[in-house]
């Protein structure tokens, strides 16, 4: 197994700022769980909800699902209706979801977002940046661990920052930090009620590219 490298993070501390030691955190973790992340959260009172969405990629086309992609994702995520997450860890998942899949994911997540929900993720500064193939973990409050992914993930097609701003209708980008390899670290905060924008529709180009990816993966 390849060794992990540690990178300091300016944005990670914001996820835990103001959290008292005895406060209980509800954390959504949409990626492969790693021991360092578990060790980090085991020092706190928390409930981690872990779903490795990367293992489910590529997601099926809308027409290939019984009740639609959003319902498919709700089944996949198995979210409890009464849980509101304090922290969402998306890692670099957005880089592997086309506009339609991203919208479906947000629709599934929306009931579990509250006005204090904060999220963290990675995107790219330049959409033509190659896939770094990294698996992330939390090493410390201000440090992220990275390890090479053992396999390639299908459907890598990162969005530009502006496009991501449009697509993430129930989050606002609070702060971003440009990292090495043109990666972009993002701190997101949930929009609630009147703050929310309408979901951005997908484009014909998105459909075309998604169809090409599905064809290539079959």
């Amino acid at each position: 197994m390849n060794p992990a490298s540690i990178q300091s993070s300016q944005l990670l501390p914001a996820l835990f700022r103001g959290v008292e030691d005895d406060q209980r955190l509800a954390v959504l973790h949409l990626g492969p769980a790693r021991q360092d992340t578990l060790d980090f959260f085991s020092q706190r009172r928390c409930r981690l909800h872990i779903v490795d969405v990367f293992a489910e990629l590529p997601l099926p086309a809308e027409e290939d699902t019984e009740h639609g992609l959003s319902a498919h994702l709700r089944d996949l995520l198995q979210l409890s209706g009464d849980t509101v997450f304090d922290v969402c860890l998306f890692w670099d998942l957005f880089n592997y979801l086309d506009a339609r899949a991203l919208r479906a994911l947000l629709e599934a997540l929306e009931p579990c977002l509250g006005k204090t929900t904060v999220a963290h993720g990675f995107s790219v500064h330049n959409p033509r940046s190659p896939d770094q193939g990294l698996v992330y973990g939390i090493n410390d409050t201000d440090a992220i661990s990275m390890r090479r992914r053992g396999r390639s993930i299908p459907g890598y097609r990162p969005h530009s920052q502006n496009r991501l701003l449009e697509l993430l209708y129930c989050f606002r980008m609070e702060r971003t930090v440009l990292l090495a390899d043109q990666r972009l670290e993002m701190l997101l905060r949930a929009r609630t009620g009147s703050e929310q924008r309408a979901p951005t529709g997908h484009t014909g180009r998105d459909d075309l590219i998604a169809a090409q990816i599905r064809k290539a993966s079959t």
Partner: protein, 129 residues
């Protein structure tokens, strides 16, 4: 030990350590003992034990009063309640991990309003390296 060719449906209880290499459906309660699910073990059950080690497949909720270990060959779908959880590289896990068995999940967010709401425009920092 429950051997590879053994299938059990029902309630398994006991006061000694147990290794499961076969198939078990139902509930498993060992309280202060250790339960191991070997590589050939297939368990569809809620499990309660002091230590739970999984090298095979488990579908169900797991409560480990001391710790839960999922080995690299392990595949778990369910919720875990334990003060310590070890997940080896390559292990597959889907579900929730409750690190604080003392309470039920809060339905309300617990982060306070100390995280101030800033403007909608993202702030871009540039960091080298």
């Amino acid at each position: 030990m429950i051997g590879p060719s053994i299938r059990i449906k029902g309630e398994v209880t006991g006061e000694e350590d147990l290794l499961i290499q076969g198939k078990v459906e139902g509930t498993i309660s060992l309280k202060d003992q250790e339960l191991s699910v070997g590589e050939s073990g297939r368990v569809t059950a809620d499990i309660t034990a002091r230590v739970v080690k999984i090298e095979g497949e488990v579908t169900g909720d797991i409560t480990g009063s001391e710790k839960v270990v999922i080995a690299r060959s392990g595949n778990v779908r369910g919720n875990i309640v334990a003060p310590r959880v070890t997940l080896e590289d390559g292990a597959i896990f889907k579900g929730s991990i409750d690190m604080d068995p003392g309470e039920t999940v809060a339905a309300r967010p617990t982060l306070t309003a100390q995280q101030s709401a800033n403007s909608a425009a993202p702030e871009l920092d540039v960091k080298s390296g």
